[in-house]
Each structure stands twice: as structure tokens, then as C-alpha cells.
Point group: C2
Chain length 195, copies 2
DNA sequence: TGACCATCTGGCACTCGGTGTCAATGAGGC
DNA sequence: GCCTCATTGACACCGAGTGCCAGATGGTCA
């Protein structure tokens, strides 16, 4: 690994750490890009060379996690009910990207309380949806070129919606109940006959 | 009705008409507020006195429609299955806010293709979710102060997600299939044992 | 009719997020 | 040492959105 890559990774981490600290103390909207740049010791312009938007600092690695979920889904047994397979795939991808539970909780609260972050978060879920739908279509035996077969999209989108609802409730409850339990309860309420 | 209200309504309609025409021809992102203001014969500043954001011109009346859906939901029989009641409430609120089907289709496509519009649209759905959840909680007999009971939120959010999926498919299919049919198919795929 | 108040309006300056450009700097390979 | 290329900071620019203020206009009361 060249020096360029190393310094780039270091700066990347420095921006992330500095930004999150500012976000969690001052609040997301109250923190400007200039604040971050000054605190991280870089120029305003360079910030945008590492992150496309301010929201990407918080939600940047969500795209990566979507790929993990897709892999987990494809690893599920072929005959399994698609809904159950989706739930299992989500279960198997624990959030290992956070330093501590308190930090993860604080981030969750911030995302769900900040409109722009909430919107971006849902956009990321739409990306996940696009990543997971083909596999569900295959399992359903749906014609890949039929734009009118909405079953796969509906299943994937609803499971992700359950995850979103569970995440919001988890934040409201200050993490006192495991996120997985909330997700299971949400999924069971929507899709009656499964775990 | 005073002259103030009448002129205000007139200006409101003029901005809406002019904006939509520009959006549908040039595209949403390619149309600036200055373009709209110039075409509508008002000042840039006045535009923001009628609409909080550019997206509100397209999605402004969605909040109103959410209230209609809530009323339709509350009018459903008390013993009805919550999921079916939600679906029926959505069915009963047809989109009467569009001049023609082609225009409605064009607006749908624009919303689903423009990230900022898509995000705002989802935010509006979150508002609907907040409006509809209390009634579903009541029907489920859930404790209103229990933040851990996610069943109602999950049901409402999933139904709205099905509507979103159906809307997207409807746009992809150029409106060749009734939106209601797509919604029913999506809802049936998610919530197995109902129409 | 004239005075008075509320409302609406346009114009200006400003903040903030995000982008294009360009010259300077420093690492990597020859 | 030299050439190339990625990275950087600085500057200018754009568009969305807000705060402020002076002026115009409608509504109301005397």
C-alpha cells in the first residue's frame, strides 16, 4: 500500500471522527462544513473530495452494508420462504461498524431526528432494495423483464421498512430492548405466519 | 372571502401551473427558482412566501391527502382487520388532484426519477404514517404510551411502502396497468391472506 | 374622504451546501 | 535529477433558503 493510500485513509478516518464528534455534540444541522474542515485541519474543498455530501459522513458505509446483506441473502437455502430468507439475511448482518452501543444509539437518534439524514437514510434503503430484489425475483420464479410483477419489490421494501420502524422504536426506547426483537415483532405483525 | 384571499389563491395557482409546466419540460433540477419567479411574474422572494421549498410545489398537497386517508380509515368498520382497513382507506382516496392521467403519470415519473423529490415524497409518507398510526394502535388495542409496540407502525409503514412500490411500477409501465391492481398485488405479496 | 393598521411585496444582503477551475506541492517510477 | 500524476488549497461561482426593511395596497374606522 502506497503512502498516498495510507495518508488518504488516515485523512478519511480523521474527517469521520472529527465530524461525528461535532455532530453528536452540536447537532448535525448546527455543524457546518467549515466547522468540520477547520477541526480536521483541511480545506473546505478537500472535504468534498472525501465525502460527496455532509450526510455521507454519517451514512456513507451503508452502501457497503447493503452488499453484505445481499451476500447473506444469496447464502440462504434455496427452498426457504423469501420473506424468512430476507429476515434471516438482515439478522446475520450485525452492525459492527460502531465503536460502542451508546454511539450507535446516538447516531440512530440523530438520523431519525434530522430530516435530511432521515431522507438520505431511506434513499440508502432504496439502494438496498435494488440490490436485493433480483435475488428475490429469482426465488419467486418471476420473469426478470416483467415490470408489472411487483411481488419481489414489495417483499424487499416491506422488510426494509420493518427494519426502519424497528430502528426508530429502538432509538425512542433508548436501546433498552434489543433491536432484533423489535424487528422480529414488526416483521411478524406485517407478515403474519412467520417468525 | 376578501380580495386578499382571492389574489393569494390566484397567485398560488399561477405559481403552481407555471412551475409544473417548467418542471415537465425542462426537468425539475434544471428549473431554478429564478426561472419560476420570472415566468410567474413575481419576485424570487415572494415564491418562498407561497412555497417553503421547490419540492413543495410538486408535493405540497400530499399533507392534505394524508388527512383524507386518515378520515377514510376512521370510517372503516371497527371490527375490520387493520391491514384490510388500511388498504381500503387508500383505495377510497383516488388521486383527484391531477388534471389528466398523462399529467399524473408524468409527475409520478418525475418524482421517482429525481432524488430530492423522491426523498421529500418519502418524508410525506412518514407524515402519513404518523397520522394513521394512532388509529391502528387503537384498533390493535395497543397501549398508546408503549414505545415498544411496533405492530401499528409496521403495518402502516408497510402498506405505504406497498403504495410506493406500486407507484414506481406504475410509472415504469407507463400507466398501462391500473395503479390499484399493482397496489393490490404488492399488498397481497406482503400480507398473504387478504385481498 | 382621510387617517390608520394589517398585509403583501420586492429588493438586498447573507448563510450554507456543493461544483469547476487552476496553480502549487509532493510522491513514485525512470 | 526529471517527468508524471494524484492531492491540495484557494478562489470564484451557483442555487436554495432566510432575515430584514422600505414601500405599496387593501381593509377599517372616524
Amino acid at each position: 500500500m502506497s503512502l498516498w493510500s495510507r495518508t488518504r485513509n488516515a485523512v478519511y478516518g480523521e474527517i469521520t471522527r472529527t465530524s461525528m464528534e461535532l455532530f453528536l455534540t452540536r447537532g448535525f444541522d448546527a455543524t457546518t462544513i467549515d466547522d468540520i474542515a477547520a477541526a480536521a485541519g483541511i480545506s473546505r474543498r478537500s472535504f468534498f473530495r472525501y465525502f460527496g455530501t455532509k450526510e455521507d459522513v454519517v451514512l456513507g458505509d451503508l452502501a457497503t452494508r447493503g452488499d453484505l446483506i445481499r451476500q447473506a441473502l444469496e447464502a440462504r437455502p434455496d427452498g426457504e420462504d423469501p420473506w424468512d430468507a430476507l429476515c434471516a439475511a438482515l439478522h446475520s448482518v450485525k452492525d459492527a461498524a460502531y465503536g460502542s452501543d451508546e454511539e450507535m444509539l446516538a447516531v440512530f437518534k440523530m438520523v431519525h431526528q434530522t430530516p435530511s439524514l432521515r431522507a438520505r437514510s431511506i434513499e440508502k434503503h432504496l439502494q438496498w432494495q435494488a440490490m436485493l430484489t433480483p435475488e428475490i425475483r429469482r426465488r419467486l420464479g418471476a420473469d426478470p423483464s416483467d415490470p408489472l410483477d411487483v411481488r419481489a419489490e414489495a417483499l424487499v421494501a416491506s422488510v426494509l421498512t420493518c427494519l426502519d420502524v424497528a430502528g426508530e422504536a429502538w432509538g425512542r426506547a433508548d436501546g433498552k430492548v434489543p433491536l432484533e426483537d423489535l424487528f422480529d415483532a414488526a416483521a411478524a405483525a406485517v407478515h403474519g405466519g412467520s417468525s
